[in-house]
């Protein structure tokens, strides 16, 4: 075969369209984007409102005489009232406190325990890894909601139990990610260097590996929080969630009786909307963060 006279690979431009079309791909991912910051803004608003709820100039969420029964949304009650005349706006904000708390504790739980287990498994490998990985596999191989049901059936449904239960469910996905990331980092030079310098295992894990593992986990944390909020909603809807206080899920349950739906759909639709927007914001932000971090990883030599 005679050499191609130009000295370049003859295959690269036989499909000119691909070569040119790919020029635009990397640019879109280098910034987090407007949507990301919009999601963050929404979350900030929700969190601030939820935290400051007791001090905000809003109605008492349990006050049954705030308005008439099932008032439609209007000037007096921005989100309307429910079957007991309670202000939906106030209830939504107070409901956010429970939903967000559960989501937050759950994912924190998952991050701490799952992250720890994953780090240990990825670092020590061998039999330790096998046991932990099997644990992850077992946890993942089972429908979460049913597992949650089991635990709640045994332990009751206080805020703490519910949060911890959902936390247990998030251990496996977080743990697997932590393990995979740890595995990829554990072979790198700076870890070897630390060991040569005589650092203990703990020191290596905490000082060298943990910061690197935290990066991808942060993206997963956002996604996990969204899932936890939804899961809590599901449990609440089944009547199995937080018995002290009410969450968005419980509000949805209360609003979903056919009569109420017919006469005052906002009682269910408002908390649904709040949950939808929050979950969407968390999902979107988590996804964008993940893409953004992936690109950075690749730029620094890949994992």
């Amino acid at each position: 075969m005679t050499p191609d006279p130009s000295g370049t690979d003859s295959g690269s431009l036989t499909k000119p369209e691909e070569a040119f079309a790919s020029a635009s791909a990397p640019r879109a991912r280098r910034r987090l984007g407007f949507g990301f910051w919009l999601s963050v803004a929404w979350m900030a608003v929700v969190v601030v409102l939820a935290v400051l709820a007791p001090w905000l100039p809003i109605a008492d969420p349990d006050e049954t005489g705030f308005g008439g029964r099932l008032d439609a949304p209007g000037w007096a009650a921005w989100f309307g009232t429910d079957t007991n005349g309670r202000d939906m706006f106030a209830r939504t904000i107070w409901g956010a406190r429970v939903s967000l708390t559960v989501g937050f504790i759950a994912i924190l739980n998952g991050l701490v325990i799952g992250g720890f287990l994953g780090l240990v498994a990825g670092y020590f490998r061998g039999p330790v890894d096998r046991i932990i990985s099997f644990g992850f596999f077992a946890l993942l191989s089972f429908p979460g909601l049913v597992l949650a049901l089991l635990i709640i059936a045994s332990l009751g449904s206080s805020l703490l139990v519910v949060s911890m239960t959902l936390g247990i469910l998030s251990i496996a996905p977080v743990g697997r990610l932590a393990r995979a990331t740890t595995l990829s980092f554990a072979e790198r030079e700076f870890v070897h260097a630390s060991r040569v310098l005589g650092a203990t295992h703990t020191r290596i894990m905490v000082r060298e590996l943990l910061p690197n593992v935290l990066i991808p986990m942060s993206a997963l944390a956002l996604l996990g929080m969204a899932l936890a909020i939804v899961a809590e909603g599901g449990l609440a809807f089944l009547g199995l969630s937080v018995s002290d206080g009410f969450s968005w899920g419980k509000m949805i349950l209360l609003g979903s009786a056919p009569r109420t739906l017919r006469d005052g759909p906002w009682v269910a639709l408002v908390p649904i909307g709040a949950m939808f927007l929050t979950v969407l914001a968390l999902n979107y932000a988590g996804d964008r963060l993940r893409q953004y971090l992936d690109v950075r990883e690749l730029a620094f030599g890949g994992g």
């Binding site: 429908p143 969204a226 949805i252 949950m275």
Partner: protein, 334 residues
């Protein structure tokens, strides 16, 4: 074959673990006696025997009613033995098909589950059918004009769809189609297959739409990748129409990720069924489990967990088998 055997072993191990955990938690965290005889366990039999109080069944002092039951239960379920031993016996019972008796109406758990399980399975089937039937044309349309208007919109759409929790979706559908427009029945109609299917349309959609969104995203990506292949260009050069090429050349090689995701989500469908059955009043297994949990009817809970876990394992294993057929490399990997 080694691969499949190992997977099977792993899944069985999971099954055992889960049942052990379930059995253990219910027996350790709760009162084992309670698990067996229910509220009757609260009777203080010593006091009854001493004639100091009446027992719950209303018999006079000296009446042995409940306490006899308690004693009988103690013996029968070997409550004086240790937990692992009891677990072993319980497993033995399970394998022989005896899942215990419900507290509520003394019916054997097996019968209760047997009545309710088919409806849940039918619901899951309808949901999958909806999911695939919507996802495939959607993905094809999006991949065909990748990155153009329709594709962009549908990406946003799937994101949105996936952000709606299934119970919210169910309520919204219920509100519009049952309450306002009254197109579908509000309760599950069990008369004949057609009525059952009609009752399952909305619940099926509730579960199926998010499924479709997930399937569509995955399938679309694979389709786009396959469309870059040279043989697509060759087929166009042969004068085949775009539609022919899409369905007869491109679709089949692009199904890998879809099959994987199908396996992952089908098992998760079980969880979704719990919620949907509540909203649409479907007397399926999900609803039975939830009610049992609320009522502390432990035999039902335990039995259902076993059934669900087994189903889970079966589905996962079936997916593994399917996968190894599609991709022979999986079989070879030792």
């Amino acid at each position: 074959m080694g691969f499949l055997a190992r997977r099977l072993a792993a899944l069985l191990a999971v099954l055992l673990t889960v049942t052990a955990l379930a059995f253990g938690s219910l027996n350790v965290l709760g009162d084992p006696l309670f698990n067996v005889v229910g509220f009757v366990a609260s009777v203080d039999c010593d006091a009854v025997l001493a004639g100091e109080i009446q027992d719950v069944s209303g018999q006079t002092a000296g009446g042995r009613g409940d306490c006899e039951v308690i004693e009988a239960a103690r013996r029968e379920h070997r409550l004086d033995r240790s937990l692992p031993v009891r677990y072993g016996y319980w497993l033995g019972d399970i394998v022989r098909g005896d899942l215990g008796t419900s507290f509520k109406n003394e019916m054997p758990v097996r019968q209760v589950i047997g009545e309710k399980l088919p409806k849940t399975l039918l619901l899951m089937l309808v949901a999958e059918v909806f999911g695939l039937a919507i996802a495939v044309p959607w993905a094809v349309a999006a991949a065909y004009r990748a990155n153009r208007a329709f594709d962009r919109v549908s990406t946003v759409g799937s994101f949105g769809l996936l952000a709606i929790p299934n119970f919210a979706m169910g309520i919204i559908l219920f509100y519009f189609f049952v309450v306002r427009w009254q197109v579908f029945p509000s309760r599950f109609e069990d008369t004949d297959l057609l009525a059952r299917l009609k009752s399952l349309v909305l619940p099926g959609l509730t579960l199926g739409l998010p499924l479709a969104a997930t399937y569509q995203r995955v399938l679309r990506t694979d389709l786009i990748t396959t469309l870059q292949e040279d043989f697509v260009q060759m087929a166009r050069a042969k004068g085949m129409t775009d539609r022919w090429i899409m369905f007869r050349h491109v679709l089949r090689p692009s199904l890998f990720s879809l099959v994987t995701v199908f396996g992952l989500t089908t098992a998760g469908l079980i969880g979704g069924a719990l919620v949907v059955e509540q909203i649409f009043s479907i007397p399926g297994l999900g609803r039975a489990v939830v009610e049992a949990v609320i009522r502390d009817d432990f035999p039902i809970v335990l039995g259902s967990v076993v059934v669900i876990a087994t189903g889970f394992v079966v589905i996962n294993f079936a997916v593994d088998v399917l996968y190894s057929f599609i991709d022979p490399r999986v079989r070879r990997d030792a």
